[in-house]
Structures are given as C-alpha cells and as structure tokens.
C-alpha cells in the first residue's frame, strides 16, 4: 500500500497545477464521454420508438420470440455486477487492493456469464432464422414489422454486448493495476471511472430488457 | 404593380409565373429581398464608414472602453426579430396552403422511377415525362417512387415535392397560364438525375377535356405511353441521348428493359454497350451499335442466354434516326462501377384508399 505522499507527486501530469484539478478533469471527461455513449444508443432508441409505433402488432408478436428467462437472468447478473463494482470503488478508496482485485474478478465473471447467455440466445435466433431484415427466414411468424424487430433487437443488443466486452477489458486492466497495489485514499480515479462506465453499461441493459423482452 | 413584378422577376432571374401561388411566392420573395438588402447594406455601410472614420493614427493608440447600453442590445435583437418573424408570418401560411389541396381537384398519380416521370390519371391515360393539365383548374399530384427518392420540381409553379418509395406524398397547384414548362428532378438519384426531365403542358381547359376524351376512347393504340404530338416531336431539349430516352419511353421499351441494372423481362440497358454478351446458342458477341440496332429490328435472331424471345420487332416502327438515338441513349448508360451486382430496388407497395 502506498502512502499519500508517495503517490501524489508521481501521478500529477506536468500541465496540471494540482492533483485535485487533475481528478476533476478526469471525472468530467468521463461524464462527457458517457453522455456521448448515451447519444450513440439514442439513435437506436429512436429507431425502436418509431418502428414500434409503425408496427405495434409485429413488434408485440416478435418480442414473444425473445428468451425472457435468459434475459431476466442476465438482468440479475448485471445488477449484481454493478454492486460488486461499487464495492470495488469503496475498497479502492481505502487502499484494500486485494479486495478490489477479487471484486473486479467477480464483476468480469458476471460480464462473461452475461455474454455467454447472450451468445446462447443469439444462437437460438440464428438457428431459427430470426434474423434482421433480408436475412429473416423464420417460418413461424411473418408479417409487417417482424423482421424490423429483429433488426432493432440485434443492433441494440449487439452494440450493448460490444460495450460489455470493452467494459470487461477495462476492468481487467484496472484489476491488474490493483494487483500491483496502485490504489489508495489519494488515488483511486481509474477504479471510479471504469466503475462509472460499467454502471452505464448496466443502466442501458435495464432499459433494453423491458423494451425488447417484456413490452 | 405588374411592371414592378416583371422588373423584379427579371432582376432576380426568376422564371415565368404559371400560377397564382407562384406569383404570391414571388411577392414574398421581393419583400424579403428588398428588406434584407436594405438591412444588409445599412449594416455594411456603417461598418465601412467606421473603417474610414476610425483609422489608426499611431501604433499604440489607446481607445475608450465602449460598453453597450441595454437599449443597444434591445435594438440589435428586436429589429431583426421583428423582420424575421414577419417573413415567417407571411411564408408559413403560404406553405400550409400549398399542403392543403382544395376539394374537387383533379388527381394525377405521379411515379418517379430512375430516370423518368410516369403520370397516370384515374380511369384515364398514362404518360411518361409529359404531364398535361388544364389551365385554371386545381390539380392534385399524388406521388410515390419506384426506387430511390426523387423530387418533382416545376420552377414555373415554384413547386417542389419529394417522391418517396413506399409512401405517398401530395401537393397541388392551379396553373393559369397555358404553355409548356420544364419539370426537373431535384433530389439526387444517380446517373440520370440531370436527364430526368419532364414537361408540364398547361392546356386551355376545353382542349384538355377533348384530349382526355380522345385518350379514354382509346383512339390511339400507343396512347398508353403518351404519343407525342407533332409539336413535341420537335425536341427542344437537345441532345440525341435525351431524344433516345424519350423515344424509348414512347415505344414502351422500359416495360421490359430497365436502365438501372435491375432484372426484368429483357436484359438491362445499364452498361450494356460494349459488354460481351453470351447468347442462347452459346456464342459470345460484343454489344456494339450494330448488335443493338439488329436487336431492335430482328429481336429473335440473337437472344441473350437466360431470356425468352418475347420481344416484338420494331422494324417499321422505328425510323433510322430513332434507332440511332436509342442506341446513343443505351451507350450513355454506364456506371463504370467496380462491383456490378444487380440492384435490389425496394418493392412498390400500393396504398389503398380514396
């Protein structure tokens, strides 16, 4: 564990007057970045809203083909992982790096479980031909808007899945730094920021799940 | 008023005004032009006067701090705001009027297709590229597109409306000046965008009634594709390619041949010229001028592999110059595209109702 005095000067970049300003900048940068992420998804939410409005029946019927059990499990898994990440931030602030590593490992594992379940769902859809647009060839359900549901479904969950993978990578990198014992009361910004990112990924799923599986 | 209208219309290079709406729009145009010019030049003249009046006298001259009083900013905000809102207050109702067709308007269905306009009257004739309307009666256009977005544009009517695939849009006009006016496509739609020309023919109402009656009786077997009148045969729009396209449209070539690469009853004309074509009898032939002309006159002599010999001969229907013009038109259809995958145009979904 590092002491306050040992950490601070080496972490300070040359162009910042003090550590406080630097962390303020980093946090603000992260929040701005998260806002761009939300706008990225906003396009897809707009498309979802428009096509749901245009094809209410098609969307309702098609969403019955979604695997609600797996989706629900995934929701629980992700919410749990948000908790573990929040705890990791807490322990990082107290310099308990070993607990941070453990909690982050659990978080990454949760991400992996999520991706595996998602993969199984994708596989089912693939086998049944429940695919976007021109690739749709499922005989069990036809009608206007059905293939559009799967277009939107795959775009939204695909983009979200990509974010889960990126989040797992970032958390793994932070876990390595925690294993080196880098975090303490004076320096825990990377854990906080990557945790923020993970919360966002979780939050987006909390919107996706009811929209795509339940409504 | 009339003189002033003509003066400003020429000053601004505006085309003829073929409807009352066009005239009203031009009046707004003049109002905007004159007031905006006054405002702009007042501002710019003030700036220029300042440049001369306040030249620097020595390098490190000091200047007073001049801060605005609230009244300055109020004027800066208020003046343009009042002017702009006045423009909007005149312009927006005009726009709403354009979007609201009156009862009893004559309906014409307009279909944009690469790269031609098709017009159809309910229970009446069809035509390609030539839209005939009566003077002094409201006409409503119901538009859609076969492939990509096009935009129906008649400068003389100051009228423009996008034709969208899979949707109907509408617009209306009441042309009151008989004459012939160009129709352009205003939304970029590919190779033939600038050649997607049509013509609006505004006829005196009685003449139009007679014309419709004649078309309905089916007196003319080729009326389906809008047999051109003698006057139209003198094509003022120029190039031989353009003539070829019109002749092809009149002869109904596009019923079987596409010009955008899509599969149809006959081979597409896109990139046809100069291509090596495999024939049904196994031979390969280069589609040059000779082959193209032969195919018009003796269509069943050399059939392209994969097609049926269903094309009638055009011997006697096409004169030499006509065939040459069509050939030139085919030659102009080139993509030079690296990938020659056929196009999958969206399906045409007719909307029921009315």
């Amino acid at each position: 564990m590092h002491t306050d005095a040992a950490v601070a000067p080496s972490r300070l970049a040359h162009h910042f007057p003090d550590m406080k300003t630097q962390e303020h900048a980093a946090r603000m940068g992260m929040w701005l970045f998260l806002s761009t992420e939300i706008l990225l998804f906003a396009v897809l939410f707009t498309a979802y809203a428009l096509y749901r409005f245009l094809f209410p029946v098609g969307f309702e019927e098609a969403s019955k083909l979604a695997h609600v059990a797996m989706g629900a499990t995934n929701t629980v898994v992700l919410i749990t992982s948000s908790l573990t990440v929040a705890l990791a931030i807490h322990y990082a602030r107290h310099g308990e790096n070993r607990k941070v590593v453990g909690l982050l490992a659990v978080t990454i594992l949760a991400g992996a479980i999520f991706m595996v379940l998602k993969g199984i769902e994708y596989h089912h859809h693939w086998v049944d031909g429940q695919l976007p647009g021109s690739l749709y060839h499922y005989a069990g359900l036809k009608g206007p808007g059905v293939s559009m549901y799967f277009t939107v479904y795959f775009l939204m969950t695909g983009l979200h899945g990509l974010h889960v993978l990126i989040g797992m990578g970032v958390l793994a990198w932070v876990a390595v730094r925690a294993a080196r014992g880098e975090f303490g009361p004076s320096y825990s910004t990377p854990v906080e920021l990557s945790g923020l990112y993970w919360h966002l990924v979780d939050l987006i799923w909390i919107f996706l799940f009811p929209l795509l599986y339940l409504v | 008023m009339n003189l002033l209208n003509e003066f400003l219309r020429h000053l601004l290079f505006l085309p003829q005004q073929a409807s009352e709406w066009a005239r009203q729009l031009d009046y707004l145009h003049y109002f905007v032009f004159v007031t905006a010019m006054l405002g702009a030049w007042t501002t710019l003249a003030t700036a220029t006067v300042f440049v001369f009046r306040y030249r620097r006298k020595h390098a490190e001259q000091s200047t007073p701090i001049v801060d605005p009083k609230p009244i300055h900013e109020a004027v800066f905000i208020g003046l343009p705001l009042v002017l702009f809102l006045a423009y909007f207050a005149i312009g927006y109702p005009q726009y709403v009027r354009l979007q609201t067709p009156p009862r009893g308007a004559i309906d014409v269905y307009v279909q944009g297709k690469k790269w031609m306009w098709k017009f159809a009257y309910p229970d009446g004739p069809n035509s390609t590229d030539v839209l005939r309307v009566p003077a002094g009666r409201p006409v409503r256009l119901l538009m859609t597109s076969r492939d990509v977005i096009h935009s129906f544009y008649v400068p003389a009517l100051r009228l423009k409306q996008d034709a969208l695939p899979g949707r109907y849009t509408q617009v209306w006009f009441n042309a009151d000046a008989p004459g012939r006016y160009p129709i352009f496509c205003a939304e970029y739609c590919g190779l033939g965008h600038s050649a997607m020309l049509g013509e609006l023919v505004v006829m005196p109402a009685a003449e139009w009634d007679a014309w419709v009656e004649q078309q309905r009786r089916g007196g003319n077997p080729r009326a389906q594709d809008g047999q051109p009148t003698a006057a139209e045969d003198v094509d003022l729009r120029g190039s031989i390619v353009e003539q070829g396209r019109r002749i092809a449209a009149v002869q109904g070539c596009f019923k079987c041949h596409s010009v955008d690469g899509s599969q149809h009853i006959g081979p597409t004309w896109l990139d046809l010229y100069g291509r090596s074509v495999k024939l049904e009898n196994g031979k390969t032939i280069v589609a040059d001028e000779a082959y193209l002309t032969r195919s018009m006159m003796e269509p069943n002599a050399e059939i392209v592999a994969g097609y049926k010999g269903v094309m009638p001969t055009y011997q006697g229907k096409l004169t030499g110059p006509d065939a040459a013009a069509i050939t030139e038109f085919i030659k102009s259809l080139r993509t030079d595209a690296p990938t020659a995958e056929p196009q999958k145009g969206p399906a045409y979904v007719p909307v029921t109702g009315k």
């Binding site: - | 601004l12 300042f50 343009p80 927006y92 544009y153 969208l164």
Partner: protein, 546 residues
C-alpha cells in the same frame, strides 16, 4: 510585477519548434502547439484535395452537356468534394489548428486537459481520412456527402468504407470537443474568469458542446447505413417497412448542428481579429459570448428545415422554420456587435482585417439567405437548387474560410515567428474576395431560375451563369495558390515578426512568438480582461504569481 512578459528573462528556453528535432519528435508529441501545427498541415492537404475536386466540378459545368468527364465520374467528384471539404477540412480545421494552439495559451494553461487523447485525435483523423479516401476512390462512392437512403443502400458503388471513415473522423471530432470542454472548465489560470474568457474560447466551447452531443448520432446513423448496405438489415429500406425519412432526420440531427461546428469557431476567430485590428474591446462581450451558446443550443432543434419538401407535417415544418429564425437572430446580434466594436476604434487595415470585412459581408448575405430559406414557403422553390448551394457556400467558404484565412494571417507570426509579405497578402485577399463573389453570386441566380443541384448536364438557359461561376472559381483557386506560396516563402526567408507584431492585448500574445515549449514559466495571473486598450502602451497585461 509590471514587465513585458515576452521579453522576460524567464522565457529563455527554446521555442516549441526548435525544442526537439526530427520526425519522430513530431509524431509522438503531446504538445498542443505541435498538434495544432500537424492539424494545419493535414487539413490543408484536405483543403487542397477538396479544392481540386471543386475545380473539376466547375470545369465539367462549363458547358451544358458532357465537358471533361462522364456522369458517373461527376457524381463521384461532387461526393468527394463534399466529404473531403466537410469532414477533412471544415469540421477539424479551426478547432484542430487554432483551438489546439490557442485555447491553452488564451486561458493561461500549460496544455489541454488530456494531451494523449489529443494526439489520438490526430491519428483518428489520419486513419479516418485514409479509409474514407481510399474507399471512395476504389469503390467510386456516388451518393453525395448526404448519403440519402435508399439511394446509398442500393447504389452499385461501394459506400461502406467512406461511412466507416466518417465514423472514425467523427470519433476524432468528439475527442477534440471533449478535451476542450474539460480544459476550459478546469484549467483556466487565476483571473481568467468566465467573463474574461477570450471570445474565441467561448466560441470553441460552444462548438465543443455540439461536437460531443451531436457527433455520436451521426456515427451511429452512418453505421446503420453501412449495416443495411452490406448485410441488408432493412432499417431504412421501405420494402421491409423501413423509413428512409428516418435517415434524413437522424442525419440532419447531426449535420445541421455540424454547420455550427463549422461556423462558430470562425465567429470566434473574427471576434479576436476585430478586437486586435480595431484596438477595441468587444462591444457587447456578453451578447457575443452567449449568442454562441444560443446558436449551439437552438442548432439542435432546427434540423427539420432540410425536410420542408419531404412530406413532413406542416406543423413540424412551421416549428422548425420559426426556430431556424433564431439562429439567424443570434448571428445578427454578433454582426451588429462586431460592427459596433469598430466605433471609436483605431483601425489598422491589414490582411487579417480585410478578411474580417470579407467575412462580415459574406456572413450577412449568407445569413439573410438562410433566413429567406427558413420562411418555409420560399424554400419550396429553392430546396435542392443552386440557391441552397450558394447559400451554404456563402456561410462555409465566405464565412468559415474567410475567418480561417483571417486567423491564419493574424496568428501566423504567433505560430511561426515569421512575417509574410503584407503586400502579397493584401493582393491575395482582394483576389479571393472578388473570386468568391464571381463564383457564388451567379449560383444564387441559377437557383432562382430553378437549376437543381448535383446536375451533371443542364438545359441551355443555365449556361451563361455557369460560365460566370466557373470563371470566378478559377480566380478563387488562383488566390488560394498565391496565399500558399507567400506563406511558405515567409517560413523560408520571412523576417522575424517579434513577439507581438500587431501590438495585440489578447492573452495569447503574452508569450514569445513562437511560444516556448512550456507555455508559461509559471502560471500567469490576470487582473483585467483581454483586449482592453483604454490606457497607454506602458500598461502591463499580466503579472506572474510566485
């Protein structure tokens, strides 16, 4: 401590250009000034390419029929011109060059908040530009820079690479904007309050907000088009229930604010130029600063004015039309305040000031034609004609490029410590302004006559005005080439400019020219705003904290 800071003995370290040598030191630099210079080189290459494409377009339009190329080549050419000029020059140029170079100098910071991300943005620019250009030239993209569906998803040419390239360029743009927002919020030196912030920084701040909030939408939209084109996802395909107009809404949700990404920085540049050359503080500082934010905000709610003829509801058209008026209103406020700034000033007519006057003139007419277009009914006639082409070139070329040239001439001595030939500069400025008028005024008239845009050939009645426009374009090209020559000549054998050749009191001039590697030996502290010229030459602009 009242001393002229530029001659202060603490500035004895080498300037940023000489501090390190070699290509490697440039490619790996984290210095915001060097990154600014790299953007200068890269965006000028983009501008040159886009200019060549523009000239080829004008040459093709010299005669009504085919002139030097076939229709397909022409369609590719205007697509290339649009994509290159917008994504490789207009959007990145002023933020990338002047924003990077001057924001830290103007707020008394040693660098931007995230120097490494700043360098990343340069490489994103390079990668995006390479992918887009190679993809377009190999694949022959012919969709126009607007990529309207379903044309873009059904054309036989390749579209996906340019979409990917634009996506990557967009990421670079987001990163730059994010960096600037954080920099302005967290790194202002003591005394640089929000109400003393140089107006260029205010304008860049407003620009950055748009970049961060609008660009992701474009990025995702372009990816959707690529997905549809490559895999047939059908999201904009009417045959599968998709809505092509949805694309237009999403596209213009970014691309209209993107117009303000291009013009707001220009407004910031001329605010600095007019204050220096009129030797006056800005009349109505707050009005100018807040109108930038106003444009950024309202700019998000006007995109529908591109869809007046698309069949959108008359109600929506009305709302978008009246909101568009407010953008014009904010611009008018700026124009009046710039003009009033010259009142009781001490005006020096140098090349940057001539460009400022050109900017003012073009912006007034470009802006007023924009107002005319947003009266809704007039747009029905003008939509997609040369009138619109002339309108946005008045804003983009007449506004942004004039301001870019004003800034380039104003800050050239600051960036490189060299002075160009004033006589040549004045000659080129006059040439560019005349050439611009000759190119684009005929296009307004062509639009009035009804000539649609993106026309490869045209009926003969449009011929004379097209000839005039092409003649003007050649003048314009000549003027730009001239500028390039004397600027390069000034680097080779120009006389040293001294630290502050314009005797400006802008904050950025409180450093030597060119600036030293470390911007300030110690954090500066300000007790007055920039550009206050009410007292004599002896007054100091800066005092140093200890």
């Amino acid at each position: 401590m009242s001393q002229s800071p530029a001659s202060s003995p603490v500035y004895n370290e080498p300037n940023y250009l000489d501090a390190e040598k070699g290509l490697r030191s440039w490619l790996t630099t984290l210095d915001h000034k060097r990154i600014g210079v790299m953007y200068l080189v890269l965006t000028l290459v983009g501008f040159f390419l886009g200019g060549v494409f523009a000239l080829l377009i004008r040459l093709e339009l010299l005669t009504p029929g085919p002139t030097i190329m076939d229709a397909m080549t022409y369609n590719r050419m205007f697509t290339l011109h649009g994509v290159v000029m917008i994504f490789l020059f207009m959007i990145p140029a002023i933020p990338g060059i002047f924003g990077n170079f001057f924001i830290p100098l103007m707020i008394g910071a040693q660098d931007v908040a995230f120097p490494r991300i700043n360098l990343l943005s340069v490489y994103l620019y390079l990668a995006g530009a390479a992918i887009a250009l190679v993809g377009m030239i190999n694949g022959g993209t012919d969709t126009g820079w607007t990529f309207y569906t379903p044309y873009s998803t059904t054309t036989v040419t390749t579209v996906a690479p340019v979409l990917l390239g634009a996506f990557i360029l967009g990421m670079g743009s987001i990163v730059t904007g994010l960096n600037f927002i954080v920099t302005v919020h967290t790194m202002r030196a003591p005394g640089v309050t929000w109400m003393r912030l140089p107006l260029f920084v205010w304008a860049m701040y407003a620009t950055s907000v748009i970049q961060v909030l609008a660009t992701p939408v474009l990025g995702m939209t372009l990816l959707l088009v690529a997905f549809e084109k490559v895999f047939g996802f059908g999201i904009f395909d009417p045959a599968r229930g998709g809505d092509p107009i949805l694309f237009q809404h999403l596209f213009w949700f970014y691309s209209h604010p993107a117009v303000y990404i291009m013009i707001l920085p220009a407004m910031g540049v001329v605010s600095e130029v007019v204050q220096t050359f009129a030797r006056k503080n800005m009349f109505g500082y707050k009005a100018v600063a807040f109108s930038s934010l106003g444009i950024a905000f309202v700019g998000f709610f006007v995109w529908g004015h591109h869809l007046f003829t698309s069949g959108q509801s008359t109600f929506a058209s009305g709302v978008f039309g009246v909101l568009s008026m407010f953008v014009g209103l904010f611009t008018a406020i700026k124009v009046f305040n710039w003009t009033a700034t010259m009142y009781k000033g001490a005006i020096q007519v140098s090349a940057p000031f001539v460009y400022f006057m050109g900017f003012l003139y073009f912006l007034v007419f470009g802006g007023l034609t924009g107002i005319a277009l947003s009266t809704v009914s007039l747009d029905v006639h003008w939509q997609d004609t040369y009138f619109v082409v002339a309108h946005f070139h008045f804003i983009m070329v007449g506004g942004t490029i004039m301001a870019f040239l004003a800034g380039l001439h104003y800050w050239w001595p600051k960036m490189f410590g060299k002075m160009y030939s004033e006589r040549w500069a004045l000659a080129a400025a006059v040439l560019v302004i005349i050439g611009f008028n000759a190119t684009f005024i005929p296009q307004f008239l062509l639009g009035n006559m009804g000539m649609p845009r993106r026309y490869y050939s045209y009926p003969e009645q449009f011929w004379p005005l097209n000839v005039a426009s092409t003649a003007g374009a050649s003048l314009l090209a000549f003027g730009f080439t001239l500028i390039l020559f004397y600027l390069i000549a000034s680097l080779v054998k120009g006389r040293a400019s001294g630290p502050n050749p314009w005797l400006s009191r802008g904050y950025e001039w409180n450093t030597p020219s060119p600036p030293s590697l470390q911007n300030f030996p110690q954090t500066p502290e300000y007790d007055r705003g920039p550009h206050e010229y009410q007292d004599g030459p002896a007054a100091a602009e800066v005092k140093h904290a200890h």
